[in-house]
Protein backbone atom coordinates (compact mmCIF):
# COMPACT_ATOMS: atom_id res chain seq x y z
CA UNK A 1 0.00 0.00 0.00
CA UNK A 2 1.23 3.41 -0.83
CA UNK A 3 0.13 6.51 0.97
CA UNK A 4 0.30 10.07 -0.26
CA UNK A 5 1.46 12.50 2.38
CA UNK A 6 1.43 16.27 2.19
CA UNK A 7 4.87 17.74 2.61
CA UNK A 8 4.74 21.32 1.28
CA UNK A 9 8.34 22.35 1.64
CA UNK A 10 10.18 24.91 -0.42
CA UNK A 11 12.67 23.08 -2.59
CA UNK A 12 15.55 25.28 -1.48
CA UNK A 13 14.51 25.12 2.14
CA UNK A 14 17.85 23.91 3.48
CA UNK A 15 19.77 26.59 1.56
CA UNK A 16 17.40 29.23 2.96
CA UNK A 17 18.07 28.02 6.51
CA UNK A 18 21.82 28.19 6.03
CA UNK A 19 21.39 31.66 4.53
CA UNK A 20 19.55 32.78 7.66
CA UNK A 21 22.50 31.48 9.68
CA UNK A 22 24.93 33.51 7.59
CA UNK A 23 22.88 36.64 8.16
CA UNK A 24 22.71 36.08 11.92
CA UNK A 25 26.48 35.71 11.97
CA UNK A 26 26.99 38.96 10.04
CA UNK A 27 24.48 40.75 12.28
CA UNK A 28 26.34 39.58 15.39
CA UNK A 29 29.45 41.26 14.02
CA UNK A 30 27.59 44.40 12.87
CA UNK A 31 28.67 43.75 9.31
CA UNK A 32 26.50 44.93 6.41
CA UNK A 33 26.66 42.72 3.32
CA UNK A 34 25.86 42.84 -0.38
CA UNK A 35 25.18 40.07 -2.87
CA UNK A 36 26.38 41.58 -6.12
CA UNK A 37 24.87 39.89 -9.16
CA UNK A 38 25.13 40.60 -12.89
CA UNK A 39 25.75 39.03 -16.25
CA UNK A 40 29.42 38.54 -17.14
CA UNK A 41 31.05 41.83 -18.06
CA UNK A 42 28.42 44.16 -16.59
CA UNK A 43 30.93 45.66 -14.17
CA UNK A 44 30.66 43.88 -10.84
CA UNK A 45 34.38 44.00 -10.17
CA UNK A 46 34.59 47.59 -11.45
CA UNK A 47 31.82 48.62 -9.05
CA UNK A 48 33.67 46.93 -6.18
CA UNK A 49 36.88 48.75 -7.09
CA UNK A 50 35.05 52.10 -7.29
CA UNK A 51 33.36 51.38 -3.98
CA UNK A 52 36.66 50.54 -2.29
CA UNK A 53 38.28 53.74 -3.51
CA UNK A 54 35.34 55.99 -2.53
CA UNK A 55 34.50 54.67 0.93
CA UNK A 56 36.26 56.46 3.78
CA UNK A 57 39.23 54.53 5.18
CA UNK A 58 37.52 53.84 8.51
CA UNK A 59 35.01 51.59 6.74
CA UNK A 60 36.71 48.24 6.39
CA UNK A 61 35.55 46.07 3.52
CA UNK A 62 36.02 42.36 2.86
CA UNK A 63 35.23 40.77 -0.48
CA UNK A 64 34.13 37.25 -1.39
CA UNK A 65 34.79 36.51 -5.05
CA UNK A 66 32.69 33.78 -6.61
CA UNK A 67 34.16 32.33 -9.75
CA UNK A 68 33.41 29.21 -11.72
CA UNK A 69 37.08 28.53 -12.38
CA UNK A 70 40.24 28.99 -10.31
CA UNK A 71 41.11 32.22 -12.11
CA UNK A 72 42.15 34.97 -9.69
CA UNK A 73 41.95 37.97 -12.07
CA UNK A 74 39.16 39.65 -10.10
CA UNK A 75 40.52 38.73 -6.67
CA UNK A 76 43.96 40.06 -7.60
CA UNK A 77 42.55 43.47 -8.61
CA UNK A 78 40.77 43.76 -5.27
CA UNK A 79 43.74 42.58 -3.23
CA UNK A 80 45.79 45.32 -4.91
CA UNK A 81 43.50 47.84 -3.20
CA UNK A 82 44.34 46.29 0.15
CA UNK A 83 40.98 44.72 0.96
CA UNK A 84 40.89 41.21 2.39
CA UNK A 85 39.55 39.02 -0.40
CA UNK A 86 38.55 35.38 -0.49
CA UNK A 87 38.18 33.53 -3.74
CA UNK A 88 35.46 30.88 -3.81
CA UNK A 89 35.73 28.55 -6.74
CA UNK A 90 32.32 27.00 -7.45
CA UNK A 91 33.84 24.20 -9.53
CA UNK A 92 31.75 25.07 -12.56
CA UNK A 93 28.54 25.63 -10.63
CA UNK A 94 26.68 28.64 -12.02
CA UNK A 95 25.94 30.41 -8.72
CA UNK A 96 27.05 30.83 -5.14
CA UNK A 97 24.88 29.30 -2.44
CA UNK A 98 24.66 29.70 1.30
CA UNK A 99 27.15 26.88 1.98
CA UNK A 100 29.79 28.45 -0.23
CA UNK A 101 29.28 31.85 1.37
CA UNK A 102 29.67 30.29 4.81
CA UNK A 103 33.03 28.90 3.69
CA UNK A 104 33.98 32.33 2.40
CA UNK A 105 32.98 34.10 5.61
CA UNK A 106 35.10 31.63 7.58
CA UNK A 107 38.15 33.05 5.86
CA UNK A 108 37.40 36.73 6.46
CA UNK A 109 38.29 38.71 9.62
CA UNK A 110 34.63 39.63 10.26
CA UNK A 111 35.40 41.17 13.64
CA UNK A 112 37.43 43.87 11.86
CA UNK A 113 35.02 44.51 8.99
CA UNK A 114 32.08 46.86 8.43
CA UNK A 115 31.02 45.63 5.01
CA UNK A 116 31.25 42.36 3.09
CA UNK A 117 30.70 42.46 -0.65
CA UNK A 118 29.99 39.11 -2.28
CA UNK A 119 30.61 39.02 -6.00
CA UNK A 120 28.35 36.29 -7.31
CA UNK A 121 29.01 34.29 -10.48
CA UNK A 122 28.20 36.24 -13.64
CA UNK A 123 24.77 34.91 -14.55
CA UNK A 124 21.23 36.34 -14.58
CA UNK A 125 19.35 33.12 -13.90
CA UNK A 126 20.77 30.89 -11.20
CA UNK A 127 21.93 33.37 -8.54
CA UNK A 128 18.35 34.67 -8.31
CA UNK A 129 17.16 31.42 -6.75
CA UNK A 130 19.82 30.92 -4.08
CA UNK A 131 19.71 33.14 -1.05
CA UNK A 132 23.09 33.76 0.54
CA UNK A 133 22.04 35.51 3.71
CA UNK A 134 23.41 38.89 2.65
CA UNK A 135 21.47 42.02 3.61
CA UNK A 136 20.91 43.45 0.16
CA UNK A 137 20.65 41.90 -3.28
CA UNK A 138 22.23 44.24 -5.79
CA UNK A 139 22.13 43.78 -9.55
CA UNK A 140 24.57 45.54 -11.85
CA UNK A 141 22.89 45.96 -15.24
CA UNK A 142 24.87 47.62 -18.01
CA UNK A 143 23.81 49.63 -21.03
CA UNK A 144 25.46 47.38 -23.69
CA UNK A 145 23.45 44.37 -22.47
CA UNK A 146 20.32 45.95 -23.90
CA UNK A 147 17.11 47.39 -22.48
CA UNK A 148 15.12 44.15 -22.63
CA UNK A 149 16.78 42.34 -19.74
CA UNK A 150 14.02 42.87 -17.12
CA UNK A 151 11.59 41.34 -19.61
CA UNK A 152 13.82 38.36 -20.34
CA UNK A 153 15.06 37.68 -16.80
CA UNK A 154 12.17 38.71 -14.57
CA UNK A 155 13.13 36.44 -11.70
CA UNK A 156 16.38 38.19 -10.84
CA UNK A 157 14.69 41.63 -10.86
CA UNK A 158 12.01 40.39 -8.46
CA UNK A 159 14.39 39.76 -5.58
CA UNK A 160 16.44 42.96 -5.78
CA UNK A 161 16.94 45.64 -3.17
CA UNK A 162 19.10 47.86 -5.36
CA UNK A 163 19.72 48.16 -9.10
CA UNK A 164 22.90 49.78 -10.35
CA UNK A 165 22.78 50.69 -14.04
CA UNK A 166 26.39 50.84 -15.17
CA UNK A 167 28.16 52.21 -18.26
CA UNK A 168 25.79 55.16 -18.68
CA UNK A 169 28.65 56.93 -20.46
CA UNK A 170 27.80 54.66 -23.42
CA UNK A 171 24.18 55.83 -23.71
CA UNK A 172 24.90 58.24 -26.60
CA UNK A 173 26.34 55.42 -28.68
CA UNK A 174 23.76 52.67 -28.14
CA UNK A 175 20.02 52.22 -28.72
CA UNK A 176 19.14 51.72 -25.09
CA UNK A 177 15.63 52.94 -24.22
CA UNK A 178 15.94 53.87 -20.55
CA UNK A 179 12.16 54.40 -20.22
CA UNK A 180 11.39 50.94 -21.55
CA UNK A 181 14.04 49.37 -19.32
CA UNK A 182 12.81 51.16 -16.19
CA UNK A 183 9.17 50.37 -17.00
CA UNK A 184 10.04 46.65 -16.95
CA UNK A 185 11.86 47.08 -13.65
CA UNK A 186 8.93 49.00 -12.12
CA UNK A 187 6.42 46.31 -13.15
CA UNK A 188 8.51 43.61 -11.46
CA UNK A 189 9.82 45.47 -8.45
CA UNK A 190 7.88 48.67 -7.71
CA UNK A 191 9.85 51.51 -6.20
CA UNK A 192 13.20 49.72 -6.53
CA UNK A 193 16.19 51.88 -5.54
CA UNK A 194 18.12 52.61 -8.74
CA UNK A 195 21.53 54.22 -9.25
CA UNK A 196 22.78 55.21 -12.69
CA UNK A 197 26.55 55.14 -12.77
CA UNK A 198 29.63 54.88 -14.91
CA UNK A 199 32.41 52.95 -13.22
CA UNK A 200 34.67 54.27 -16.00
CA UNK A 201 34.09 58.00 -15.44
CA UNK A 202 32.93 57.83 -11.82
CA UNK A 203 29.63 59.53 -12.65
CA UNK A 204 26.87 58.62 -10.20
CA UNK A 205 29.18 56.76 -7.83
CA UNK A 206 28.81 59.28 -4.95
CA UNK A 207 25.05 58.62 -4.68
CA UNK A 208 25.71 54.87 -4.48
CA UNK A 209 28.36 55.44 -1.82
CA UNK A 210 25.96 57.61 0.21
CA UNK A 211 23.32 54.87 0.12
CA UNK A 212 25.91 52.31 1.20
CA UNK A 213 27.24 54.44 4.06
CA UNK A 214 23.71 54.97 5.33
CA UNK A 215 23.27 51.20 5.60
CA UNK A 216 26.54 50.29 7.29
CA UNK A 217 25.94 50.05 11.02
CA UNK A 218 28.35 51.54 13.49
CA UNK A 219 30.67 48.85 14.77
CA UNK A 220 29.54 48.16 18.31
CA UNK A 221 32.30 47.77 20.83
CA UNK A 222 30.61 44.68 22.15
CA UNK A 223 31.18 42.86 18.88
CA UNK A 224 34.88 43.60 18.99
CA UNK A 225 35.43 42.42 22.52
Amino acid sequence: MTQKVEVVRKILDSNDRLAAGNQARLDDMNVFSLNLMASPGAGKTSLILQTLSHLPPEIKVGVVEGDTAPVTIDADKIAEQGAPVVQINTGGQCHLDAVLLELGLNQLPLEDLNLVIVENVGNLICPASFKLGTHANVLVASIPEGDDKPYKYPNIYRGLDVLVINKIDLLPYLDFRMDYFKQGVEMLNPGLQIFEVSCKTGEGIPAWIDWLKAHIPAKAQAAKE
Binding site: M1, T2, Q3, K4
Partner: protein, 122 residues
Protein backbone atom coordinates in the same frame (compact mmCIF):
# COMPACT_ATOMS: atom_id res chain seq x y z
CA UNK B 1 21.65 25.52 -15.21
CA UNK B 2 21.12 24.97 -11.52
CA UNK B 3 18.95 21.91 -11.95
CA UNK B 4 21.50 19.62 -10.29
CA UNK B 5 21.42 21.62 -7.05
CA UNK B 6 17.64 21.76 -7.23
CA UNK B 7 17.37 18.01 -7.83
CA UNK B 8 19.65 17.31 -4.89
CA UNK B 9 17.38 19.40 -2.68
CA UNK B 10 14.29 17.51 -3.89
CA UNK B 11 16.02 14.22 -3.07
CA UNK B 12 16.99 15.48 0.38
CA UNK B 13 13.42 16.54 1.17
CA UNK B 14 11.92 13.28 -0.14
CA UNK B 15 14.30 11.02 1.76
CA UNK B 16 14.04 13.05 4.98
CA UNK B 17 10.25 13.02 4.92
CA UNK B 18 10.14 9.30 4.08
CA UNK B 19 12.60 8.41 6.83
CA UNK B 20 10.63 10.47 9.35
CA UNK B 21 7.64 8.28 8.56
CA UNK B 22 9.67 5.03 8.57
CA UNK B 23 8.72 4.42 4.94
CA UNK B 24 10.59 1.79 2.98
CA UNK B 25 10.29 3.52 -0.36
CA UNK B 26 9.21 6.73 -2.06
CA UNK B 27 7.19 5.95 -5.18
CA UNK B 28 6.05 9.41 -6.31
CA UNK B 29 7.00 13.03 -5.74
CA UNK B 30 4.67 15.93 -6.53
CA UNK B 31 6.26 19.26 -7.32
CA UNK B 32 4.84 22.72 -7.99
CA UNK B 33 6.98 24.88 -10.22
CA UNK B 34 5.99 28.42 -11.01
CA UNK B 35 6.73 29.77 -14.46
CA UNK B 36 9.15 32.28 -12.96
CA UNK B 37 11.29 29.60 -11.31
CA UNK B 38 13.26 28.90 -14.53
CA UNK B 39 13.50 25.14 -14.13
CA UNK B 40 13.53 22.61 -16.97
CA UNK B 41 11.68 19.36 -16.18
CA UNK B 42 13.79 17.23 -18.47
CA UNK B 43 16.99 18.29 -16.72
CA UNK B 44 15.58 17.59 -13.28
CA UNK B 45 14.40 14.16 -14.49
CA UNK B 46 17.81 13.45 -16.01
CA UNK B 47 19.67 14.26 -12.79
CA UNK B 48 17.02 12.47 -10.75
CA UNK B 49 17.59 9.17 -12.51
CA UNK B 50 21.29 9.42 -11.64
CA UNK B 51 21.33 10.79 -8.10
CA UNK B 52 18.35 8.89 -6.67
CA UNK B 53 20.07 5.54 -7.24
CA UNK B 54 20.64 3.63 -4.03
CA UNK B 55 18.32 5.87 -2.00
CA UNK B 56 14.82 5.37 -0.60
CA UNK B 57 13.56 7.40 -3.51
CA UNK B 58 15.28 5.47 -6.29
CA UNK B 59 13.07 5.31 -9.36
CA UNK B 60 10.33 7.48 -7.86
CA UNK B 61 8.07 9.11 -10.42
CA UNK B 62 8.36 12.90 -10.52
CA UNK B 63 5.11 14.77 -11.18
CA UNK B 64 5.51 18.38 -12.25
CA UNK B 65 2.68 20.86 -11.87
CA UNK B 66 3.43 24.03 -13.77
CA UNK B 67 1.87 27.20 -12.52
CA UNK B 68 1.61 30.07 -14.98
CA UNK B 69 2.73 33.51 -13.89
CA UNK B 70 -0.27 35.72 -13.17
CA UNK B 71 -0.37 39.45 -12.50
CA UNK B 72 -2.92 41.78 -10.99
CA UNK B 73 -3.21 45.45 -11.82
CA UNK B 74 -3.13 47.51 -8.64
CA UNK B 75 -5.08 50.32 -10.31
CA UNK B 76 -8.04 48.55 -11.95
CA UNK B 77 -7.81 45.02 -10.52
CA UNK B 78 -7.56 43.25 -13.88
CA UNK B 79 -5.77 39.90 -13.64
CA UNK B 80 -3.81 38.54 -16.56
CA UNK B 81 -1.36 35.74 -17.32
CA UNK B 82 2.21 36.43 -18.34
CA UNK B 83 2.29 34.63 -21.65
CA UNK B 84 5.00 36.29 -23.67
CA UNK B 85 6.67 39.59 -22.86
CA UNK B 86 5.79 41.37 -19.64
CA UNK B 87 3.37 44.18 -20.56
CA UNK B 88 1.47 46.91 -18.73
CA UNK B 89 -2.12 46.16 -17.70
CA UNK B 90 -4.11 45.21 -20.84
CA UNK B 91 -7.17 47.13 -19.55
CA UNK B 92 -5.78 50.42 -18.28
CA UNK B 93 -2.07 50.37 -19.29
CA UNK B 94 -0.95 50.85 -15.69
CA UNK B 95 2.49 49.57 -14.76
CA UNK B 96 1.53 49.22 -11.08
CA UNK B 97 1.35 45.44 -11.07
CA UNK B 98 1.79 42.68 -8.58
CA UNK B 99 2.74 39.10 -9.29
CA UNK B 100 0.15 36.93 -7.60
CA UNK B 101 1.20 33.53 -8.90
CA UNK B 102 4.07 31.85 -10.68
CA UNK B 103 6.89 31.95 -8.14
CA UNK B 104 6.04 28.61 -6.51
CA UNK B 105 8.95 26.28 -6.05
CA UNK B 106 8.05 23.49 -3.71
CA UNK B 107 7.57 19.81 -2.97
CA UNK B 108 3.83 19.43 -2.34
CA UNK B 109 3.57 15.75 -1.44
CA UNK B 110 5.28 12.39 -1.62
CA UNK B 111 3.80 8.95 -2.00
CA UNK B 112 5.43 6.35 0.24
CA UNK B 113 5.27 2.61 0.84
CA UNK B 114 4.84 0.87 4.21
CA UNK B 115 4.00 3.82 6.36
CA UNK B 116 4.17 2.75 9.96
CA UNK B 117 1.38 4.34 11.95
CA UNK B 118 2.30 5.03 15.59
CA UNK B 119 1.28 1.77 17.18
CA UNK B 120 1.48 1.62 20.98
CA UNK B 121 2.06 -2.18 20.78
CA UNK B 122 5.25 -1.86 18.76
Amino acid sequence: MHELAVTESILEIATQEAAARAASKVTDIYLSLGQLSSIVDESVQFYWDVISQGTLAEGAQLHFTHIPARLRCKDCGTEFDLTEELTPCPSCQSIALEIIQGEEFQVDAIEILDEVINDPKS
